[in-house]
Symmetry: C2
Subunit: 419 residues, 2 copies
């Protein structure tokens, strides 16, 4: 007998069907026991009048139930299962659960949830965040493919600790040192020379010893890079379309309400951003409090949950950043803030070989160490730029999770490499 998912039972009234899933809850009343079975789609209620059938059943045990679909407007999806013929136990749980899954919210503290991730992630709220993550990722790819971007896969093991040497993980590569890539930056730029527009969804690694609610040592980076741009504003426009596509997909697939993405997201220059945030004019970067103030400003002044900050000072951006031709102390780089948190960094990059050599020398880096990367520019590259979205940050901001760890199945931080 073919299995029917919980959410499809209503289409089979009075039929005998098979339902399979986890015992979400056992409610033993005087004359009847309600068995709530959880499957990938939702919950089904099984009404048991023969106590012997469920005497030994425990929560989270996995069962297969054959019973009859009976309309009942009080039950989930308007139906319940009655007259259960057979309750087959695929696997029985013989130990107490460390926390219950059938409460509206998990009562266990986050560390306990993370310790028992295999169990905690089954809770509908935790599960929902990961479905949103999957939908956002699908929306990212869909929006970019519509815009002619091609998917790439780049190396996560690299020879040198580039970009910002201090925060890389070192590994033993057949007796030599190698490093985990902090981003696909160099590779996606090189691939602009091949496909003009590329994207990658993949893990990036940061050996940053900061145990905050918004840092992870591995996270999912949604990267894109595009050639033949006029400047960073073309990148911002493509990003805006992409974010809109992601949120659209989240709503379509999960029913989650998402904020409207303006056709043109308000953008403020870094110098104006400092003024709005009430920060001193000589600050080289925006602190979290400044970002929050800018988020409030954008909502108040523009009704937008998003705001671009452009023109970050060159001295705070990486060597490949393209300066603002009108004022070379500032860059054609930008951040996108969502609800007062930076979730995207992007910008226009340098594209001429001589500019790279000069930028590396100015940064005190030997160009020879970047040979494979510089090849791309030596052999011709168009004006280009791109961005990196932090998936877990975006999802946490969207779901209102206080901690980015709630937006990832098995988070990694300086103290956690398990499960």
């Amino acid at each position: 007998m073919q299995r029917i998912l919980s959410t499809e039972l209503a289409a089979h009234p009075y039929e005998k069907v098979r339902v399979e899933g986890w015992i979400h809850r056992v409610r033993r009343l005087k004359s009847v026991t309600f068995l709530i079975v959880r499957d990938a789609a939702g919950l089904a209620q099984v009404v048991i009048t023969e106590p012997a059938q469920v005497a030994t059943l425990t929560e989270e045990s996995v069962v297969s139930v054959i019973a009859t679909v009976t309309p009942n407007s009080q039950a989930p999806n308007g139906v319940e299962l009655t007259g259960a013929e057979e309750i087959h136990v695929h696997s029985a749980v013989g130990v107490p659960l460390p926390f219950e899954l059938h409460r509206p919210a998990l009562t266990a503290a986050l560390p306990a949830q993370l310790d028992h991730a295999a169990l905690a992630l089954r809770h509908p709220a935790r599960r929902a965040a990961l479905r949103i993550s999957a939908a956002a990722t699908a929306g990212f790819r869909k929006a970019l493919e519509t815009q002619r971007f091609v998917e790439i896969h780049t190396p996560k093991i690299v020879e040198s600790a580039t970009e910002s040497g201090a925060n890389v993980f070192e590994l033993d590569y057949f007796g030599r040192p190698a490093y985990l890539a902090q981003s696909p930056q160099f590779y996606k730029q090189m691939m602009v020379g091949v496909f003009e527009r590329v994207f990658e969804v993949g893990p990036v690694f940061r050996a940053e010893n900061s145990d905050t609610a918004r840092h992870l040592t591995q996270y999912t980076s949604l990267d894109a890079e595009m050639g033949f741009i006029a400047d960073h504003r073309d990148v911002m426009a493509a990003l805006t379309r992409t974010i809109a596509g992601m949120f659209g997909e989240v709503t379509e697939r999960t029913g989650t309400a998402t904020p409207e993405v303006p056709v043109e997201i308000p953008a403020v220059h870094f110098t104006a951003a400092l003024r709005i945030a009430g920060a001193p004019a000589d600050e080289p970067d925006l602190a979290p409090a400044h970002e929050r103030a800018l988020g409030e400003w954008a909502l108040r002044e523009h009704g937008s949950e998003f705001v671009f900050v452009t023109g970050y000072p060159m001295r705070k951006r990486p060597f490949y950043t393209h300066p603002d031709p009108a004022d070379p102390a500032y860059s054609n780089g930008f951040d996108l803030l969502f609800r007062g948190l930076e979730i995207v960094t992007g910008g226009q990059r340098l594209h001429r070989h001589a500019d790279y050599v000069a930028a590396l020398r100015a940064a005190g880096e030997p160009p020879a160490a970047y040979q494979g990367y510089l090849d791309a520019f030596r052999y011709g590259m168009p004006p280009h730029g791109g961005w990196a979205i932090g998936l877990e940050r975006l999802v946490a901001r969207l779901t209102g999770a206080a901690n980015v760890r709630e937006a990832m199945a098995f988070p990694r931080d300086p103290r956690r490499v398990t499960p």
Copy 2:
């Protein structure tokens, strides 16, 4: 003036347009120079009658050309560009190229291509393989989403060197050892407890010191895992639909001919496979020559470029493998061979906690080291199974590439971590 891609020029006869791209070739004839411009879509021919305009132009320089679209049945796409008003050079190549890109095949040997990947990947043949890879990946996800699978992202940094301890990369994790994940196996199984059906596209790492044409130290694994199966045959059926979807997408997106995937791929038991391959009956595994012989047999006897081998001996499969209930020396594990090469490994897994504890003890492994993973089974798991497809192997087999490195942008092997 908006840019028009090379392949869309024919829709703009006699219009003045902007074309942008790389100088693929400069052919200087007596009275005319042909400039072949390569963009993401293809090639465009620009006819130059004023030699001064192109006197200094070099191949792979990036240009923007404004000219008039003129029908010419001899030219690529039936049009050429004439009367060029302006040739703007975005970036000029001032050095000789290490190899030419305009020949039908790259003449450089593979190591030279890999050394200069940023240039070599621009060659239409190399580029085509990566487009096939992108299409196959998109087809994988599409086929699985149709079958209710949910995308997941799992940790690449893990605490213990599980599965097959010898072949892992060790890294320094804030002063402690940690390892690069060889596969998302444990995590995708745990996530079956959450979503029933999951998939992941991501990098996996093998510290195997073998410098062959089919091994990489990082490759892209297309993983899936599904719950509530009867046995491994349900997994094989889902895999067959998925491979068909992948090949369908490759043909649709790239026009590449792909072999027909039979609705039911022929399957032979391991013991029969040894006989067919002419191998001794006590061999514990199939050698490459045996796989080739089986590929020939499947084509000859069944007209299929694919063949499943099922029932591999338990002693050669990992501890989580489900035995064949009818003969527990053999497993419910399978490999899928494509044109005589293993491109997928999969099978049914154990799903009861007690079976895991027994299997780990038998393997001499302390169950305590697997606590987070075993949690999933302690708290209830359905019968399940899954597979892992090696993306680069599949693409190399499809394109006929002699070396799997040709199916990856920046391959990693024991001697190569650059570019």
